[in-house]
Amino acid sequence: MRSLGAKTECVTRPEQIATASALVLPGVGHFCAFVTGLRERNLTGALREAIAGGVPILGICLGLQAMFASSAEAPGEQGLDLIHENVQALPTNVKSPHIGWNQLRRLRESILLREIPDDAYFYFAHSYAAAASEPHTAAACDHGFPFAAVVEKDNLMAVQFHPEKSGEAGSHMLRNFLEWAQ
């Protein structure tokens, strides 16, 4: 983000969320550690408030999954529930984790994918995913089942892949987010 000209700050306290003009929720690790980490730092409430107030937010990988109600990775743990659906484990008939470069299937006009070629590849590394679903999914990816690769719902944006590791296409997507968030 910094290399694309954004001024960034790592959030550790809820007050910082209130003053942000855009938020990024990156994530690597376990769903349970992630949502309890947010809770223990008192960030959950501030995050919900900012999102309800229209602040643009970009979730990445586990950051996307945390926006859902729950995940099969941590049954009983509550997600941010901004999208009232659940994250599932990838089916056992495909290699899991889904690791590597894959392409997307556009379901509708997308802000994040603006001017990025349809056949561009993005880097994925995950074992869980949310099913692609009409209202929120702008682009799907298929690995065992069609899952939400790009979510766009009002000010809420999220991607299952890692744009920061997806070469030129990924940088382009991050630029699209920054431009739209301005």
């Binding site: 056992t92 690791i99 894959n102 392409q103 997307l104 590394a125 298929d142 070469g167 030129e168």
Partner: protein, 254 residues
């Protein structure tokens, strides 16, 4: 829409320089890690692996610094490893900018290391590296840079590693490494059939057809090479164009 087969250059690092050995012995200087990383990133490498090949004997500060500098050059994923014995070693590499860590000798000695790393960082961040040699009784896992037999059967160890949470297997054929006689497709397929995670084939790459064979017959998800890329004998772009022309799904656009 298919998951692309990956081409992964590997940098073996010794005291801040990229080196290359032949059959795990005898080292040659191949250049500066940052320069090579930037070149591969630009040429369309899908990923990079950085191995500290002196880790068992030397200090780690130099390698961490190399990882930090290489991370700055990349917008593709990269794995670092060599000499990881504890959770903290893995944590240090990830904090320095690596996306995944790879474990080898220490995981054979104490398999719980794989579980600990996976629980902390997720399976997608844990690569089990196996150096394998063909023995009369079958494929056997070697440790300490290929110098010592572990007595473990390679397919069984692969299955155990995955059960413990390894998200990928980096499979090196000691017999082929540095020999330029092609990947060991038999070994690669034998392991790929045993596990549900991606397998990265390594050791012996020389020609474009070697890559074609390991993605076909070898059932590899990714292929790793070092010398042929370092010496600029082959460009990654040309290799990928060749593979794409023969029906292998690869990422061509950048």
């Amino acid at each position: 829409m298919t998951l692309a087969r990956r081409i992964i250059p590997c940098l073996d690092v010794d005291a801040g320089r990229v080196v290359k050995g032949v059959e795990f012995a005898g080292l040659r200087d191949m250049g500066d890690p940052e320069e090579l990383a930037a070149r591969y990133n630009g040429e369309g490498a899908d990923e990079l692996i950085l191995l500290d090949i002196t880790a068992s004997r030397d200090g780690r500060a130099t390698f961490l610094e190399t990882v930090r500098r290489v991370a700055q050059q990349l917008n593709i994923p990269f794995t670092a490893g060599g000499g990881i014995r504890r959770l903290e070693d893995g944590n240090a590499l990830l904090r320095a900018g690596a996306d995944k860590v790879t474990v080898n000798t220490a995981a054979v000695a104490r398999p719980e290391l794989i579980s600990e790393l996976a629980a902390q960082f997720g399976s997608q961040a844990v690569v089990l590296s196996m150096d394998v040699k063909k023995m009369p009784a079958g494929w056997e896992v070697f440790v300490r840079g290929g110098a010592e037999s572990s007595g473990r059967d390679a397919p069984a160890w692969a299955r155990e590693g995955v059960a413990r949470g390894a998200g990928e297997i980096l499979l090196t054929s000691i017999d082929r490494d540095g020999t330029c006689s092609g990947f060991d497709c038999g070994l690669t397929a034998a392991i790929a059939e045993q596990v549900s995670v991606p397998v990265i084939a390594s050791g012996g790459a020389k020609t474009f057809d070697d890559f074609l064979a390991v993605f076909g017959e070898g059932q590899a998800d990714a292929a790793l090479a070092a010398s042929i890329f370092h010496t600029a004998e082959h460009s990654i772009g040309a290799l990928k164009t060749y593979l794409a022309g023969r029906g292998v799904p690869v990422r061509l656009n950048r």
